[in-house]
């Protein structure tokens, strides 16, 4: 049994217009239609839709998401190409993780240094973040 666009939107937690927007942008394939023109989605369509949302929250643009999603679609593309691209993304993700970890370490250190007493001015929670390297606190 296939899903209507409304069911898809609801399950993915996005709006109907957004689903159509992603289709126009080439992020998801055009689904088959009924005689009357209604889109008929397979259930698995919700996976890429959820993925798009997650990836955006991690700082990837729709264009970047599309790049990923296109790797397996384009015919005639060699698997080795895909591998190269995957590797590039892995490196990029590595860098993001490291940045986030640095932010986290800085926040943790300074939250600890924070006694819970005194005004904020005495708690330079962001001095460390501003550098990307921790300063002494």
């Amino acid at each position: 049994m296939s899903l209507t666009i409304g069911q898809v939107a609801q399950q993915a937690g996005i709006g109907i217009e957004t689903v159509r927007f992603y289709e126009r942008q080439g992020l998801i394939p055009e689904p088959p239609r009924t005689e009357s023109g209604y889109r008929q989605y397979p259930e698995r369509i919700v996976d890429p839709l959820r993925f798009i949302k997650r990836a955006q929250q991690l700082g990837f643009t729709l264009k970047e998401v599309a790049e990923l999603l296109h790797l397996r679609v384009v015919p005639g593309m060699r698997c080795s190409d895909v591998k190269v691209r995957a590797q590039a993304k892995i490196t990029e993700i590595e860098a993001k993780i490291k940045d986030l970890q640095r932010m986290q370490v800085a926040l943790k250190k300074l939250a600890q240094a924070c006694t819970g007493r005194g005004p904020t001015a005495e708690c330079p929670i962001l001095e460390a973040l501003q550098l990307g390297q921790e300063r002494t606190c």
Copy 2:
């Protein structure tokens, strides 16, 4: 010695207009001015500017960055408040790291499964990513 807006922009790797934009948005404080109205920046201004850039690449909006940057500025705010907010951000960052790690694991697994031979259609590199959980490959 203080910096002009042009020097700041160059050192931070952004445009002059962007520096002024961030000032209007309250992301960086209004600097002192010369008699003639020129902005005079301390050297450390480049740190928050670089931080803004990095944080954006990690999926934080300018509003969220501003929230972080404001924690230490507002007078009369208690350190415990700051601590609570810091904790919330730590949790948020934790979730982002986990998502990225999941993406990375999936990409690595599938890059390995990719022999480097055969067309992309045989290499479902994104089946796993689309779920957020790995499928058998």
